[in-house]
């Protein structure tokens, strides 16, 4: 993939994440902050599918943005074809792993495993 496309995704995910995290914070303000972190409240949020979907999208956006940012930093630290390929593939793998782990919570709640 061309670097300009990757960077367009990088900037796009940043803007989208800022907007959605703002919505997420505003939703927290509808109840007390400590109350919103209580077990029952968190489970209720996950069970409310539109909100859970938004959390999932935030997770995906931040994972893509964060791991691409890490890739860029690592590419600046050291150069070399093998190193650069390793860094890129490791970042993609870590990104997929993080998204999978985060999604697992939402799936477990909604399938009655929790």
């Amino acid at each position: 993939m061309r670097e300009s496309i990757i960077m367009k995704i990088h900037y796009g995910t940043a803007l989208a994440a800022v907007s959605l995290v703002a919505v997420h914070i505003l939703m927290r303000l509808t109840q007390g902050f400590s109350e919103s972190l209580q077990y029952g409240s968190v489970i209720a949020n996950y069970k409310f599918l539109p909100y859970a979907g938004m959390l999932e999208i935030i997770l995906i956006l931040l994972s893509i943005h964060g791991f691409n940012g890490l890739r860029v930093i690592l590419l600046e630290l050291k150069q070399g074809k093998t190193y650069e390929k390793t860094v890129s593939y490791c970042c993609i793998a870590a990104m997929i792993a993080l998204i999978a782990y985060g999604s697992r919570t939402i799936i477990m709640v909604n399938t009655g495993m929790i």
Binding site: R2, E3, S4, I6, E76, Q79
Partner: protein
């Protein structure tokens, strides 16, 4: 012109004398850079290059320094003067307001010896961005003898054509310090210079060249390249304008 203390000590006031600290380093023999101090006298108009040449002439012939035109045109005498990349021929001692002038070779360039550095990487990256007009009709065969351009079209790129390839921008660039494959502000500014030229048709080629993992996107916009340019070129702005082309804000 600087004078040797021993020759002119009687006529000089203390305010007209400075200590010139010159970095000495030969990669073939030395493990680290060391500094040698020389006390020299100067006039209001004495440049750092003149002071170095004075030291070279009377104290240490072995000092390696590259220079040519002495009027900020050839771009040969770039070095770190009191911590900042500058042209030695374009920097007067009197304007530095310091009694100690430290000169070192430019950062981000391999050192040949003392103050002389290798320019291969600069010229390679400069060459890489195709720094010339690409046009189907470059060889004029018809009655047309020139490619006309309006003052507004000229205004788009004229400041970038002032680049003298001195390498000060690359020396000041923090990304150049860590990324050995980075194209660098000099080459990127030159890419913009030709992309923005209404006579040029090589925009897509150049944008493709700089659109890689060590190309234009690695610029952090620190802006230090623009601060040190002795010719008033603003590479940081050129890079942002180039990004505009790549993101679709400019065409």
């Amino acid at each position: 012109m600087g004078q040797i203390p021993s020759m002119a000590e009687e006529n000089m006031t203390p305010s007209q004398s400075i200590t010139l600290r010159i970095a000495k380093y030969n990669p073939e023999h030395d493990s680290a850079k060391k500094f040698m101090d020389f006390t020299i006298t100067y006039e209001r108009w004495t440049t750092v290059l003149e002071a170095i040449l004075e030291v070279k002439k009377h104290f240490d012939h072995s000092i390696a320094v590259r220079y040519s035109c002495r009027q900020a045109t050839c771009g040969s005498c770039g070095m770190i003067i009191n911590g900042k990349p500058r042209l030695a021929c374009f920097t007067k001692i009197s304007e530095l307001n310091s009694n100690v002038i430290t000169v070192e070779p430019m950062n981000n360039f391999p050192i040949i010896r003392d103050l002389a550095v290798k320019f291969e990487r600069l010229f390679d990256t400069h060459h890489k961005v195709k720094p010339y007009l690409i046009h189907d009709d470059t060889e004029i065969t018809s009655d047309t003898k020139e490619f006309l351009q309006s003052p507004e079209e000229l205004e788009q790129y004229i400041q970038f054509s002032n680049c003298i390839k001195c390498g000060l921008c690359n020396s000041a660039c923090p990304t150049m310090a860590t990324d050995s494959s980075f194209v660098g502000p000099q080459a990127l500014a030159q890419a913009y210079r030709y992309v923005a030229d209404s006579r040029d048709k090589g925009k897509d080629q150049r944008l493709k060249i700089i659109d890689d993992s060590h190309g234009i996107w690695r610029c952090h916009f620190a802006g230090s390249c623009s601060q040190v340019c002795p010719k008033g070129v603003d590479p940081a702005m050129g890079i942002q304008l180039l990004r505009g082309y790549m993101l679709g804000f400019r065409s």
